[in-house]
């Protein structure tokens, strides 16, 4: 055998061995103790089977049921550094959608590993889950979950594409009725409405959750009004006033007002279920 061939074989073998040792998760680097600073991240990690490894969550992490029993480290915008440190996390999982950047900086300056998710929109979610899976050593499960969500989104897209005759419904998604706050552009809700081939009447607003003009709501005459869930509130009772004021729009006249859960408020594993619920409303 020529020396040059030998060398190539050796190089290839070395590279192969190196590749294997990198791709097989090293048990020493897989985080055992995880602190989550966002309800959406908590839900994703529970779905990835990491529930037992989560040692701390925010006060807003209420899904799944077991998340409520985890030690609390404060809110999303004001987590307690001390509470996080005392849990001795191997990694702190955060999001740019609600956690302060300064908090990540503080953790990093204390040499605590962080994972910061930048996913904000529906189509960012599968990649975000995959990335999280890499960081947490659950590549296989996270790839599977990401695929499920990708397939779910694609199915809605197909359904929409195969009914070209459909007239888009004008939708008003009410996040809070008094004062009227709607779900605007850049939200998962807006993404879901366009994915279903319908039109969000506050899609042209300048912010994600605009305080919405009542007279514009009347003028844009929504065909469907969807009312989101407020934590622990009877939304039917608090929405009475606004529905009375919007009594002349087609949605109220034809009784096309529906109340939704909180699945679409969180960019997590429940979005597909949320889109299904929304599709049910918009049908």
């Amino acid at each position: 055998m020529l020396p040059i061939k030998k060398i190539i074989v050796i190089i290839v073998l070395t590279l192969f061995v190196m590749y294997c040792s990198v791709s097989a998760a090293d048990p020493a680097t897989v985080p055992r103790r995880i602190v989550s600073l966002a309800p959406s991240m908590t839900e994703i990690m529970f779905a990835l089977g990491l529930g037992d490894n989560i040692v701390g969550v925010t006060t807003f992490c209420d899904y799944p049921e077991e998340a409520k029993k985890k030690p609390k480290i404060g809110g999303m915008s004001n987590p307690s550094l001390e509470a996080v440190l005392s849990l001795k996390p191997d990694i702190v999982v955060m999001t740019t959608d609600g956690n302060p950047k300064e908090f990540a900086d503080r953790l990093q300056s204390l040499h605590i590993k962080t994972f910061i998710s930048t996913a904000r929109r529906l189509h960012d979610l599968p990649a975000g889950i995959k990335e999280l899976g890499r960081a947490l050593g659950t590549k296989e499960r996270s790839d599977r979950l990401a695929k499920e969500i990708e397939d779910g989104i694609a199915a809605f897209k197909r359904r929409e594409d195969t009914s070209p005759t459909k007239v888009p419904a004008k939708v008003l998604f009410i996040v809070w009725p008094e004062p009227l706050i709607a779900a605007g552009p850049g939200t998962v809700i807006d993404d879901a409405i366009s994915l279903l081939g319908d039109e969000n009447i506050s899609g042209s607003a300048k912010t994600e959750y605009p305080k919405f003009s009542i007279e514009e709501a009347i003028r844009r005459s929504p065909d469907v009004i969807v009312i989101g869930k407020g934590s622990g509130m009877d939304m039917r009772a608090v929405s009475k006033g606004i529905l009375k004021r919007l009594s002349s729009v087609p949605a109220v006249k034809q009784g096309k007002v529906c109340y939704l859960g909180d699945s679409l408020y969180r960019l997590g594993p429940r979005v597909i279920k949320g889109i299904e619920e929304l599709a049910e409303c918009l049908r």
Binding site: F60, S77, R219, A237
Partner: protein, 321 residues
């Protein structure tokens, strides 16, 4: 001369009310109304414009009266803690999601908070058989700090969602104005303005000192109690109509003094008209600038009002109560 000036203010007010009703995110042509235009004009814009005007009137007039009673140019309806008490109750209702009185729950809670706080300030300010300006002021500032702290506490332990809703209300929100709120708003505001207007001579005398007022035949303590009650009514009505809107109560009376002098017989109605007009314009801008989004009216009020006040301050000479 003074009648002419009040006449000018009145015409400005009418003009402002009319244009606030016709302009907005889209202009409505009054002679060619479509069904949707009519509905927007009648059930959305008119009540809103009237509520804004009433609220601005209440703030302007109560500011003028309060600066007189307290003999302090920095007094405004919010300094007595009345608004902090109202905000605390309103935030409790908003964050707690109470709906026991239907859509008027939050306004009623705010009104109750304002009246109770006004009563507390009155009790604290009462000594030796009467209300004393310094005591009222200090009691108000003390209660204001206490209630603001409780409000902050409540907001910091609430969810982000509840917090945002409470913030929107506290920054002033006129979007929920309905016809049903106007009769009671009108009753309180009319009573709250007429009362001090009829006592304006006494207020003029009080500003110059209790002894002076006494020598003119007014009972300083009795007048102060009457005037204080009217301020409480006005502040409570304004807070329950549309939350907290700063600037008007503090600076509209000063702007009016620049033009009309310090005679309260003129100053109180003028401050009411000026306050109403300013709030209407501010609300018009806040709902028209970035449709379909609305901005907080209180922010716009100060942004257009403060530079004008500062300009007058440079131009004019006097600044007295």
């Amino acid at each position: 001369m003074s009648q002419v000036r009040i006449g000018v203010l009145l015409s400005i007010a009418v003009l402002v009310i009319l244009s606030s009703a016709l302009f907005g995110p889209r202009t409505i042509m009054p002679f060619n109304l479509s069904d949707i235009d009519r509905e927007i004009l009648v059930s959305v814009r008119l009540p809103r414009v009237l509520v804004a005007f009433l609220m601005g009137m209440a703030l302007g007039a109560s500011g003028a009266v309060l600066q007189g009673i307290l003999r302090n140019p920095l007094a405004d309806p919010y300094i007595l803690g009345i608004s902090s008490g109202a905000s605390l109750m309103a935030a409790l209702g908003i964050i707690g999601g109470f709906t026991f009185l239907g859509p008027v729950t939050v306004p009623v809670l705010a009104f109750t908070g304002a009246v109770v706080t006004g009563g507390l300030v009155g009790i604290m300010g009462w000594k030796r058989g009467g209300l004393w300006p310094e005591r009222l002021l200090l009691a108000g500032v003390g209660l204001s700090f206490l209630f603001s702290a409780l409000l902050m506490l409540m907001m910091s332990i609430s969810t982000d969602e509840g917090l945002r809703r409470a913030m929107l209300w506290i920054f002033g929100d006129l979007s929920m104005s309905e016809w049903s709120r106007i009769p009671y708003g009108l009753a309180f505001v009319a009573a709250g303005i007429l009362l001090p207007v009829t006592r304006a001579k006494a207020l003029n005398a009080l500003i110059l000192g209790d002894e002076f007022a006494h020598s003119l035949g007014f009972s300083p303590q009795r007048e102060r109690v009457i005037l204080f009650i009217s301020v409480g009514l006005l502040t409570a009505a304004s807070v329950s109509l549309g939350g907290m809107i700063g600037f008007i109560g503090l600076l509209i009376p000063h702007i009016m003094r620049f033009f009309l002098g310090a005679d309260n017989r003129l100053l109180i109605p003028a401050s009411a008209l000026g306050g109403g007009s300013l709030l209407c314009i501010a609300d018009l801008i806040s709902r028209s600038l970035l449709p379909p989004m609305e901005l907080p009216a209180g922010v716009v009020t100060a942004i257009i009002g403060a530079p004008y006040f500062l300009y007058l301050l440079r131009r004019k000479d006097v600044l007295s109560i």
